[in-house]
């Protein structure tokens, strides 16, 4: 209960990265910080803390940045960051997976404030992000960035490869992918994931997915005329 008391005390205040473990523990009821559950934590934090131009007040604004969580599995880190940034009430985290909870084991955009897509079936986020980038361009909204988070095993899904090839050919420069690589793909990706994006004309960076400064630099690197992929390498899933 000390965790809950601690969280309530911080309600309404600004949370920092160091508060995320407490928020995460509300969802599991235990100190469960395995790599599989938190492989996305640093990436999500740096994006929401320093990169994305979206806030609880602008979740419906036409010119907001979009973040699409394609890898909807293990969304606790996502919910924790959304709570830390005020999109969700921290008290909701304890309801994780409950019948009346908005917080499922895969997120639903119609239930979670700030969630741009419902996800869980792998390989849908990047095609949806391509369409989002096309829609913003067609409406003469050149500023919003579209970000989509995928996993290295999710990258196995063929739908991603349809999207990677098209986005490169179409030069969708406001489209960004961050691929969390925890070496969980069954057959791996020889030469690394970035090589696939590079072959289709994307700008790419491969960085340590736990190094916040490196992530920030990679996220904000200029990439005129090309979509941008950041491969964030973290410890292997089964290490």
């Amino acid at each position: 209960m000390t965790t809950a008391t601690h969280t309530e005390r911080r309600s309404g205040a600004q949370y920092g990265f160091s508060d995320l473990p407490d928020l995460l523990s509300l969802m599991t009821g235990a100190e469960k910080h395995g790599p599989a559950a938190t492989s996305t934590l640093d990436v999500l934090w740096v994006l929401y803390d320093r990169v994305l131009r979206v806030s609880p007040e602008t979740v419906g604004a036409a010119d907001r940045d979009r973040f699409l969580l394609s890898k909807g599995h293990g969304p606790m880190a996502y919910y924790a960051v959304l709570a830390a940034k005020g999109f969700l009430a921290p008290e909701l985290l304890a309801s994780f997976g409950g019948y009346d909870s908005p917080l499922g084991h895969h997120p639903d955009r119609l239930l979670v404030p700030g969630a741009e897509i419902g996800s869980g079936s792998l390989g849908h986020g990047l095609p949806l992000a391509v369409g989002t980038a096309l829609g913003l361009r067609a409406q003469a909204l050149p500023d919003p960035a579209v970000w989509v988070l995928i996993g290295d095993a999710e990258f196995d899904e063929g739908s991603n490869h349809e999207a990677v090839a098209f986005a490169g050919a179409a030069g969708l420069e406001r489209l960004h992918v961050v691929a969390i690589d925890n070496s969980s793909a069954t057959h791996g990706w020889r030469g690394g994931i970035a090589a696939r994006f590079e072959a289709e004309g994307w700008s790419t960076e491969t960085v340590d997915g736990r190094d916040h400064e490196a992530l920030y630099r990679a996220f904000t690197a200029p990439h005129p005329g090309r979509p941008h992929a950041v491969v964030a390498r973290v410890e292997p899933k089964n290490s």
């Binding site: 849908h124 949806l128 369409g131 096309l134 913003l136 067609a138 409406q139 063929g158 098209f166």
Partner: protein, 297 residues
Amino acid sequence: METMRDRFIDVTGELLDSDPRLAVVLADISAAGFVAAAERHPDRVVNVGIREQLLIGAAGGLALTGMRPIAHTFASFLIERPFEQVKLDLGHQGVGAVLVSASGSYDWPAGGRTHMAPGDVALLDTLPGWSVHVPGHPDEAETLLRHAAADGDSLQYVRLSVHGNGTARPVRPGRFLTVRRGSGAVVLAVGPMLDAVLAATEGLDVTVLYAATVRPFDAAGLRAALGGRADVVLVEPYLAGTSANEAHAALADLPHRVLGLGVPREEHRHYGSIPEHLAAYGLDEAGLRARITGFLG
């Protein structure tokens, strides 16, 4: 002769000029027809190449930004191949789209099974909220396309075929049209099946209803057309019995009989022509007459 697909291309190009919310997403099929529209609206006519999962996913993303996407390819590749995208990237995300197919169930028999999609409407029946239009003439296709494009953020499927009827009917979305009145059974002809149904029921004391929109199913229209007994024959240009559940629901409180005629589940491993396939399926005039009179006794 102008096909429904020709009309779709012309009408959609015109709609793009007048409605800035509309966007067309293609997967190479019909792309040549949209070249002029793409020159006028390069950001709103998008050809993703032969990538049907992306076709539907991109349509979903466009809709997430507030646009009204129209996605088009052959029915096999629009509904069946990316079916999970249809399920998750549109309805589950809470956004809509207009899906416009061509080729239907038997448009290109020489092309074989790969280009036949008799299960498309049945598949959409597993999902909530879809309107399904099956026009029988290019004029009807135009009416239904304009309705579908303008209908807010709804989920609309417009199923185009080269099989059609000789004349257009004054269709209204969601309403069955009474084409012939009788006092006996009701024969409901869907889209391209009307001409054959009218010929097959010549001289029979039946009411012929015409449906160019099958979802929502005009239950009130069906009930209003019933004769002394609730006997209903459905004649559909896709899987036999696709609308049987809808008919049963419409007649749930009545003793009733429903005969569902349409394309059989069994593969017909023959090529040839549309008339040859319709005859093989029992959907030509002679086949329909034999099965309808047999049912009515």
